[in-house]
C-alpha cells in the first residue's frame, strides 16, 4: 500500500515516542521515581504503531498490561501519560490508574487491562455499539500470545463473527508469556484459529516491519468498516526488555542467539534506513526528528514533575457518577 510521506514519517515519530518514553520510564522505575513497575513495548513498536495507524481517530481500541505503546501509538500526548505512571494529579486518569490502566478516551483508548485477556470483550462491545448506532467506527483489541489462550477471546470471536461486528482481534505475539514460550502452551498457530470462527486470520511473520503490520491491519479495518465483520491479525514480534522493568529472573529462559537476532532487527532502525533509502527523508532530518522526540519526552517529565500528587479525597471520587457509598 502506497502511503504519503507525512504518514510514513508520523509512523516513525510514534515509534520513536514509544521507545524514548519507555526507556525513560524504565530508568524512572529503577531510580524509584515511578512506584511499582511498568511493562515496556521496546522492540514491539512496529507492531503497535502499524496497528494503531491503521485505525482512524474516531476508532476504538482496548489493550493490556504492555500498555504505554497503545495510547502513544493512537496519538495520546505524553505528559499526562507519564504523569499517570508517577501517580500525579495531572495523569491521564488523575493518578488512579497507573501504568497498567492507562486510558485516553479522547483518542479512542478505552483502557489497558491488568488482567490478561479481560479487555477483549470491551472492544467487542465497542464494536457492538458502533454497529447498533451505525456510526462507522471500528474497535481493535490488543492482546498477547498469553491471552490467546483465554476463553474470553473465543467467546468474543464467536459473538463478533455471528453478529458481524467491526472488530479487529490483534494478537501481539512476542513469543513469551512472562517466561513461558508460547509454543509450549499454545496448540497450533494462533492466526489459524480464525478459520474456526469463519473469519480471516493472517499472520504477520515480520512484525518488526511497521508497513507489514499496517497493511495487514488496514485490510482488517477496511473489511470491518465496510460491514465485512471481524478479523484476527497475529503479529510476530519480540520484546527487547524483561517482562517488566526491574524484574530479575534466575533462569535464562530466552536463548541468547535468538535474542541477538531479534535485537538486530530493531523496528525503528529498520524503518529509518528504509525511509532514507526510499528518499522520504534525509539522515539529518531523521536525526532532527529523534531529537524532537527526546525533547518531547523530557517535556513530559517536566510536566510530571510540575504536577502535584492528588489530594487524598480523590480516592473517593469517580467510583460512581453520583456520590454514594464509602461510609467511614
Amino acid at each position: 500500500m502506497e502511503l504519503p510521506a507525512d504518514t510514513l514519517l508520523e509512523m516513525q515519530r510514534r515509534m520513536l515516542r514509544i521507545r524514548r518514553f519507555d526507556e525513560r520510564a524504565s530508568r524512572m522505575v529503577k531510580r524509584g521515581q515511578i512506584p511499582g513497575t511498568v511493562h515496556t513495548s521496546i522492540g514491539q513498536e512496529a507492531q503497535v504503531v502499524g496497528a494503531c495507524m491503521a485505525l482512524g481517530d474516531q476508532d476504538y481500541m482496548s489493550g493490556n498490561h504492555r500498555s504505554h505503546g497503545h495510547p502513544i501509538g493512537k496519538g495520546s500526548p505524553l505528559g499526562p501519560l507519564m504523569a499517570e505512571l508517577v501517580g500525579k494529579s495531572g495523569g491521564v486518569c488523575g493518578g488512579k490508574g497507573g501504568s497498567l490502566h492507562l486510558a485516553d478516551f479522547n483518542v479512542g483508548s478505552l483502557g489497558e487491562s491488568g488482567i490478561v485477556g479481560s479487555s477483549i470483550p470491551i472492544a467487542v462491545g465497542a464494536g457492538l455499539a458502533s454497529k447498533t448506532l451505525d456510526n462507522g467506527r471500528v474497535a481493535l483489541a490488543f492482546f498477547g500470545d498469553g491471552a490467546a489462550n483465554q476463553g474470553c477471546l473465543y467467546e468474543g470471536m464467536n459473538i463478533a463473527g455471528v453478529w458481524k461486528l467491526p472488530v479487529i482481534f490483534l494478537c501481539e505475539n512476542n513469543q513469551y508469556a512472562l517466561s513461558t514460550p508460547a509454543h509450549t502452551v499454545t496448540s497450533g498457530v494462533i492466526a489459524d484459529r480464525a478459520a474456526g470462527f469463519g473469519m480471516p486470520g493472517v499472520r504477520v511473520e515480520n512484525g518488526q516491519d511497521v508497513l507489514a503490520v499496517y497493511d495487514a491491519t488496514k485490510a482488517a479495518v477496511d473489511r470491518a468498516r465496510n460491514g465485512g465483520g471481524p478479523s484476527l491479525v497475529e503479529v510476530v514480534t519480540y520484546r527487547f526488555n524483561e517482562h517488566s522493568e526491574g524484574l530479575r529472573i534466575g533462569t535464562d529462559y530466552r536463548d541468547q542467539d535468538e535474542r541477538a537476532n531479534w535485537l538486530a532487527r530493531d523496528p525503528i532502525v529498520l524503518f529509518r534506513e528504509k525511509l532514507i533509502a526510499d528518499g522520504v527523508a534525509k539522515a539529518d532530518e531523521m536525526d532532527a526528528m529523534e531529537a524532537e522526540v527526546l525533547e518531547e519526552v523530557e517535556e513530559a517529565v517536566r510536566f510530571t514533575d510540575a504536577s502535584p500528587f492528588p489530594d487524598p479525597s480523590v480516592a473517593f471520587k469517580d467510583l460512581y457518577t453520583e456520590p454514594i457509598g464509602a461510609r467511614p
Binding site: 482496548s62 483502557g111 479481560s118 470483550p121 470491551i122 465497542a126 447498533t132 474470553c152 460512581y320 461510609r327
Partner: protein, 353 residues
Amino acid sequence: MTVMSYLGAIGAAQREAMEADPRVVIIGEDVEANVYGTTGGSGKSRKDKGDFLEMFGTNRIRNTPISEEVIVGAAIGAAMTGLRPIVDLSYSSFLYMAMDQFVNQAAKNRYMFGGQASIPVVFRSAMFYGLNTGAHHSDRPYPMFMNVPGLKIVVPASPSDAKGLLRTAIDTDDPVLTFEACMLWGAKEEVPDEEYRIPFGAARTVRSGGDVTIVAISSAVPEAVKAAESLAEQGISVEIIDPRTLVPLDVETIIRSVQRTGRLVVADPAHRTCGAAAEISAIVAQEAFDSLRAPIIRVTTPDTQIPFSPALERQLYPNRATIADAVTRVVGEKVTVANADGSNRYISHHAPR
C-alpha cells in the same frame, strides 16, 4: 393502574425504556423468543402486549450465544461507547461465569480511568431458589456483589417496585445488578400505568409498627408481612422495612426505625456469612447502639449449599415461622407462628454458625 405480575411489571419497564431511548438494547440468552416473559407479552396475550422482537427488531433485541463472559464484557464496552444495554443473564448463578468482567471491568473502569468512562448497563438475573432447581440454580449471590465497590445492587420485592426500580436502573449511568426472586414472579398487585422511577437508596416502609423493626430483603418481604400479621394478633407491633436497593443502602430509614423500636431482625434469603444481613446488623450496632434493647438477630439461609429435595430445601430460607421466632426472641415473648404448610421450623437456630 393495572394489575400486573412481577414479571409483567419488568416487561413494562423494559418496553417503556426501549420506546423512550433508541440507545437501550436488550441482549441475553433466549430474549428473542421471550422465554422468561419480559421481552413481550406473556402466554396467550403475547401479541396483545407487543412482541419486542417485532417492535424493536434484531438490532436492539439480541439473542446471544451461551457465553456469559463476553455477554457481560461486551455490554460494558457497549455502555462505554454509547449504548445503554439491559442484559438478561437468566439465572443469577450464571453471573459467576463472568466474574472477571463484573469485578475488573464493570466496577473498576470508571474509577481506574479517572471518571472518563460512564457505564450505563443493567444486568438482570433471576434467583430460582425455593423451586427445587438444585444447587447450581438456587443461588442468591447479591452479597458477593455488594462487596465490589462500583456496582449498584437492586433487590425488588414487589411488582410496582420491580417496574420503578428497573426504570431507574436503566436511566442510571453506573452498572446496576438487579436480582429478581422467582418466588415473587407470580406476585400481582396494582401497578401505575404511567412511567415512574423509584430512586435508589430509598427504602420502603412496608408496614409501620412500634415494637420491632424487621429489615426484609427480596422474598423475605412477603414472609415478614405474614409474620407481622400473626404477631399483631398476639399484640406485637412490627415495622417492616424493605431497603429495595442494597447499594446504595438507605441507612437513615433503618436507623430511624430502630431508634424507635429498639429491636432489629434482619431477614435475608442469602447466606449468612458476610451477607447483607451482616452488613445491616453491623451498621445498626455501630450507629444505633444506644437504642438497642436486645441483640440484633439475623434470619438468613444457613451457610450450606442448596439441596434438591423439597423436603430438604424448604426449611432453609427465611419464612414466616423463623422470622416470627426471631421477633419473639428479641421481644422476650414466646409466640409461635406456623408456616402455611403447618411446619414450624427454626433451622437458623440449629445451623452451623
